[in-house]
Amino acid sequence: MEFGPYLMLAALEGAVTAAVLALMAAGLSLVFGVMRVVNVAHGEFYMLGAVLAFVVAGMAGGGALGFVAALVAVPLIVGALAVAADVTVLKRVGYDPERTIVATIGILYILQQVTLMGYGPDARPVAAPFNQRIALPWVEWGAGGPSLYWPWGLSITSYKLFVIGAAVVVLAGLWVLMTRTRIGLVMRATQLDRETAQAFGIPVERVYALVFGLGAGLAALAGVLIVPIQQAHYLMGGDALLLSFIVVIIGGLGSLPGTLIAALLIGLSDGILSVFFSPTLAKIVATLLVALVLVFRPQGLMGKAPR
């Protein structure tokens, strides 16, 4: 493959990764920003999204209808589950940073093993509602000026484009929610100072439950979107969690724009490096980036230094 089309394919693959990663990391970042909880179980909410998408799509009769049903219902189900986990577990340990880490590790194993017992160890597919292959053209500078041609292998599917589009829409919605609505204001107030917010009559515990549910819902949505491309498998949360942590650390914990920038950075570098060199090198570079950020800018690219 020539260099130009090769780069374009790599960038497109990276954009799909970045889109899914941005959704997941936004949830993780939100939970940390508002609640100061490092949610180690976040990857399992992503996995649950994918697995439940398989279940819901099957119950709704499969096909496009099944997928739409999963897209609507699954984030709500997983969000509700997360709210329940918050009320029954995290609240009881008083949102203490160390203890919540241990508690969410426990939630991770419970979710993973229950899925293994109920759903089994197999990877199962969900049919995409639409999945046309779109061959992409490339410009060639010939003797008679620029001309278009269709290089071998340069293509994307309509569904992958949809994933990118859906992620952009959801993230824009999240940004509007955080900056333009009353509930967003309440969340930001809680993030800024929990005690003062409570003194002003904000029901902090309900805000926490809502935020935890919203974060898990975003991860589940990412899971639903990815499952027609990959497949639902009970171990898929591990890698996703690692990459989201990398994104959140680089972007700055609690910063939505930082998360988005870092997701693009990691997604694209992962796509391009793994196409041109090897996926292992891509992981090495991502981890190196984290190390550099932690050394030279511990608060992350867009994070605010602690006051």
Partner: protein
């Protein structure tokens, strides 16, 4: 025991009591006659315990599920026919998580805790390589069903045998002439990046070179990978044949993304069915595979010349004519591999009978009895076909199939006889100490 000579003992009582006991015992035995009568000629009626190392979870789970079903079916059939040496066969299952470290622990558990007679059933080559040294140290006969060349290469030990399934080296020797003659000579290989995939890489490269062909690119993909498009641009444009073999939970994604990458202008494609074991060939996104070829160890779809042995095997394991579960047509089996468990259990039976196996003290005799085996005629015990066992290399040889995918099903287009799959011995395990 009462002593009639003891003072105070009444001489009549014990005799009568003993007589009554005998009568009662005989009565109870008569009532239970159908249960134990099959094992009457055994010295001991205790079961022979076979430790089944199962990939119940992890990347080998789909194979594990079907290896388990096949093993249970074979054990049921063997027990219904009188067991081994008149003793019932008992399967002791342990999950190894498809993980080499856990595999070695499972072997140890079999030997020290479950006290099994032999261990059996491991498929994934990295797990075999991780577990076999421990089996050797524990002097536990270890019957693997793996396909890897590690047994015949001499890398393992005298206690590890592969008598129920052929190895990658003989499989690629069987298919290389077909690839070169029918499909093309410039081959790009896509394989999983661990021992099993490396066997494919090394031996197919050799085999195709011997046919005047050439491997022009080798794409190694980690078996835990979930996204594949980014590997495909490394396929050179002049490729005539894609040779693919993939394992793991994401095999369907792998094949689908390969189709999306090539679009309408795909080269010829030859795959090992491993890339689509336990996957429905009519899944959406696989249409592009129409007209491509696959290696199959045993044909998934019932062929016109189906043998009575294949019919028996399918009926006992519960497989329909499309290679799926008879109770759920969406639950597709790993038909090209799982016969290995069935045949291996019958070899353990035959070996134990030849060795007069009575207990763990006879383990060495069992290994020697299996090493002495050669011909295994096609039968209910060997439904995949006739086999020839090489006791020196601990590896069995058998026929191989090339099938073409048409109208969503695979039909055999060439069957390579076992004589064409031989290669020179690389080891003589019989010279190694126990």
């Amino acid at each position: 025991m009462s002593d009639p000579t003891k003072p105070g003992a009444t001489p009549a009582d014990p005799a009568r009591r003993a007589a009554l006991k005998t009568l009662a015992g005989a009565g109870a035995a008569a009532a239970a006659l159908p249960l134990w009568a099959r094992y009457t000629h055994a010295q001991s009626a205790a079961p022979i315990r076979v430790g089944f190392q199962m990939h119940a979870t992890g990347i080998g789970a789909a194979y594990g599920r079907w290896y388990d079903r096949t093993t249970r079916a074979a054990a049921r059939v063997i027990n219904a026919a009188g067991g081994i040496n008149g003793r019932p066969l008992e399967i002791v299952t342990e999950d190894d998580g498809t993980d080499p470290r856990r595999g070695a622990e499972v072997v140890e558990k079999f030997a020290n805790q479950h006290r099994v007679d032999v261990a059996f059933g491991t498929l994934f080559s990295h797990v075999v390589i991780g577990s076999a040294p421990r089996a050797g140290e524990l002097k536990l006969p270890y019957f693997v069903v793996s396909e890897g060349h590690h047994v015949a290469s001499g890398m393992l030990n005298r206690w590890t045998l592969q008598p129920g399934i052929t190895d990658v080296k003989s499989q690629v020797l069987a298919v290389a002439p077909f690839v070169a003659e029918t499909l093309g000579r410039k081959v790009t290989m896509i394989f999983p990046d661990y021992a099993f995939g490396h066997d494919h890489r090394d031996f197919f490269s050799e085999a195709i070179a011997a046919q005047g062909g050439e491997v022009i690119a080798k794409l190694a993909i980690p078996p835990t990978e979930t996204s594949f498009t980014r590997y495909f641009p490394r396929i050179p444009r002049e490729t005539e044949v894609i040779y693919h073999v993939m394992v793991g939970p994401a095999v369907l994604t792998f094949v689908k993304e390969m189709g999306e990458f090539f679009g309408p202008s795909r080269p010829a494609i030859f795959g090992f069915i491993d890339s689509l074991e336990a996957v429905d060939l009519r899944s959406p996104g696989l249409d592009f595979l129409e007209g491509t070829y696959f290696w199959e160890g045993m044909p998934r779809y019932v062929q016109p010349d189906q043998t009575e042995f294949d019919r028996h095997f399918r009926a006992e394991v519960g497989i329909d004519e499309n290679g799926a579960s008879a109770s759920d047509p969406r639950d597709v089996s790993t038909y090209a591999h799982m016969f290995g468990c069935w045949e291996t259990l019958y070899i353990i039976k035959r070996g134990m009978e030849a060795a007069g196996y009575a207990g763990p003290q006879d383990r060495q005799k069992l290994v020697e009895a299996v090493e002495a085996m050669t011909d295994m005629p096609e039968s209910n015990e060997h439904p995949q076909g006739a086999k020839l066992f090489n006791g020196r290399t601990h590896q069995v040889f058998g026929q191989q199939h090339v099938s073409r995918l048409e109208n969503g099903r695979l039909d055999v287009v060439r069957t390579v006889p076992l004589e064409e799959t031989f290669y020179p011995d690389e080891v003589d395990y019989t010279t190694r100490p126990f």
